[in-house]
């Protein structure tokens, strides 16, 4: 007998709409489940059970009076704490925003609220989305539900863990260089990074403006399509938001993969990737072939430079985006004799080491005398990555690779920043090109029994092809085991 908290978002929406269960029951189930395992997983920075119950009651009233319901009416969710929620503390997992309560909600949050979503809480992350393990959170480290001694990945580690542990049927994370896909892979859930500009950034506490995108983490591909449908689309408050009409992602889901040309990207699928991960990946590729896809290999030489290019661009934009945290208008203030001292002391106390490191790196690469050699050069190299992608898409409809080079590593295992940065080698290139990408569970590693993900990358704005391929793969692969934590009751 499956508990309500075990069901997918699509199932729950359907059960609630058909009055088989009430939104209140669903909310209580998730709240109870959250409380049960939260002590071990530590997915959340802020829990909002009262708000959740209130919203669930609203949905139930709407159901009772026959009012039209949103596509996610009564479905509980977690939002990464980098997403501003009006009236609810939003910290970006940083001490510098410890007491910050936004006076407004992010567009993605508002769209989910309007669709009937029920907020369970704000999920943990690496501070300001900078990291690949969630160990950089100023508050707590989230534990991977598959093995509590391991990291969930990052930066959207809390979002991924909440879904993997059964605490929420879906969550929203953000992805700048892989921060949805890598934790999704490490936690055995689906994680989707939309085309840059498809999902509005208004209200996402900015890390790297030209790369940040919010996206869903879910238990299956259908749920990812369902949630994406709600959050995608033009937002006049975001000038980089795309005006193109949003297709019907659910309708296209069962298109299948036959005759689709799929390219394995050599540079991010072999060397640098853990052999056990490679094994699961190769098997996944074989499944695609079995389903009728025409699989080939493609070499995209600039992809090998992805990390270097990324780490010259993202920290630069971040160093500027984080300048606003100065103790003047909101957030932490540490007093000083004059305003400059106050700024310096506030930022020193408020930011963690990784954030400071990236601010330093970014400031340096933009500074006089270095701008041309670093930032500008990296932006030119980024154009080359986009060109490599464009070239590949002349031959292929989709590109694939593993989502991450390793399975979940141990908490405290990686202490060298550069080593940590290499967790992003598979995901960074599609971020730099603004392309759409999704990580789908591909099985468990034979080495450590931990989840491995396969990444599908599509042309910009071709989420439909990507989702249908991912769906076909997922259906063929069949159900995967749940984490040990799952059967804990």
């Amino acid at each position: 007998m499956t508990e309500l908290w075990e069901r997918t978002a699509a199932d729950l929406a359907s059960l609630i709409a058909s009055k088989e269960v009430s939104a209140a029951e669903v909310a209580e189930s998730c709240i109870a489940r959250t409380n049960e395992v939260e002590g071990e997983v530590l997915s959340y920075l802020t829990l909002t059970p009262e708000a959740a119950r209130a919203k669930a009651a609203e949905v139930d009233a709407a159901v009772a009076s026959g009012e039209p319901l949103g596509p996610l009416a009564g479905v509980p969710m977690a939002l990464k704490d980098i997403i501003c929620t009006a009236g609810i503390r939003s910290t970006a997992a940083s001490k510098i925003l410890d007491t910050y309560v936004p006076p407004y909600s992010a567009t993605v949050a508002q769209r989910l609220y309007d669709a009937g979503g029920v907020l369970l809480g704000k999920a943990n992350l690496d501070e300001f989305a900078m990291g690949s393990s969630t160990e950089n959170s100023a508050y707590q480290v989230t534990h991977n539900p598959w093995d509590l001694s391991k990291v969930p990945g990052g930066s959207s580690g809390g979002s991924a863990a909440a879904v993997a542990a059964g605490q929420a049927p879906f969550s929203i994370g953000t992805d700048t260089g892989g921060s949805i896909r890598q934790p999704a892979a490490l936690c055995g859930v689906v994680g989707l990074k939309p085309t840059y500009g498809l999902v509005p950034r208004y209200g996402l506490i900015a890390f790297a403006s030209s790369l940040d995108q919010a996206g869903p983490l879910t238990r299956d591909v259908r749920d990812a399509a369902l949630v994406l449908q709600v959050i995608a689309g033009l937002d006049p408050k975001d000038s980089t938001s795309l005006p193109s009409p949003v297709p019907d992602y659910l309708a296209a889901l069962e298109k299948g993969i036959e005759a689709l040309k799929v390219g394995v990207v050599k540079e991010i699928s072999g060397e640098g990737v853990d052999p056990a991960v490679q094994t699961r990946f190769r098997e996944a590729v074989q499944i695609l072939e079995k389903l009728g896809a025409q699989v080939g290999e493609v070499s995209l030489p600039t992809f090998g430079y992805g990390i270097d290019i990324y780490y010259l661009i993202a920290p630069a934009e971040a160093s500027s985006n984080l300048a606003r945290f100065d103790g003047v208008r909101y957030g932490l203030r540490v007093d000083g004799a004059d305003v400059e001292q106050m700024n310096r002391a506030t930022r020193a106390a408020g930011f963690g080491a990784e954030v400071k490191r990236r601010i330093m790196l970014g400031t340096y690469s933009l500074s006089s005398g270095y701008y041309d050699a670093y930032y500008l050069k990296a932006q030119k190299a980024r154009t080359l990555i986009a060109r490599d992608f464009a070239r590949a898409y002349e031959e292929f409809d989709l590109l694939v690779s593993p989502s991450a080079p390793t399975t979940a590593f141990g908490i405290g295992e990686i202490t060298d920043p550069l080593t940590m940065y290499l967790s992003d080698i598979c995901t960074v290139p599609s971020s730099l090109a603004g392309a759409a990408a999704i990580s789908v569970p591909a099985g468990l590693s034979s080495d450590d029994g931990l989840p491995v993900g396969i990444q599908f990358m599509a042309r910009p704005l071709d989420e439909t092809t990507m989702l249908s391929a991912a769906y076909a793969f997922e259906q063929e692969l069949g159900p995967l085991p749940k984490p040990p934590l799952w059967s804990q009751s």
Binding site: L312, Y330, V339, I359, M360, A381, L384, P417
Partner: protein, 98 residues
Amino acid sequence: MGIGRQQVEHVAKLARLALTEEELDLFEEQLSRILEHANTVTNLDTEGVEPTSHSMPLMNVLRPDEVIPSIGSEAALANAPAAEDGHFRVPRILDDES
């Protein structure tokens, strides 16, 4: 292609970060290694290549000049670490703005 100690201090000043001696040492070492790694980007031939300042080909995204009601001074000051007379209060400013 390392970054020297003086550079690190200068950058910390630009970024308004008060760093301890240990942090300066650590960052000097870490940033040098990261930059050395990142420096492989110079191997790429970018002759005649335009930088990607925006990944999607959008232009002329404009907002009509119509007033949207403000949030009001109470909401504006709600998160203020220090306020006085409806203003945000800050310690004395030494430098005149450039």
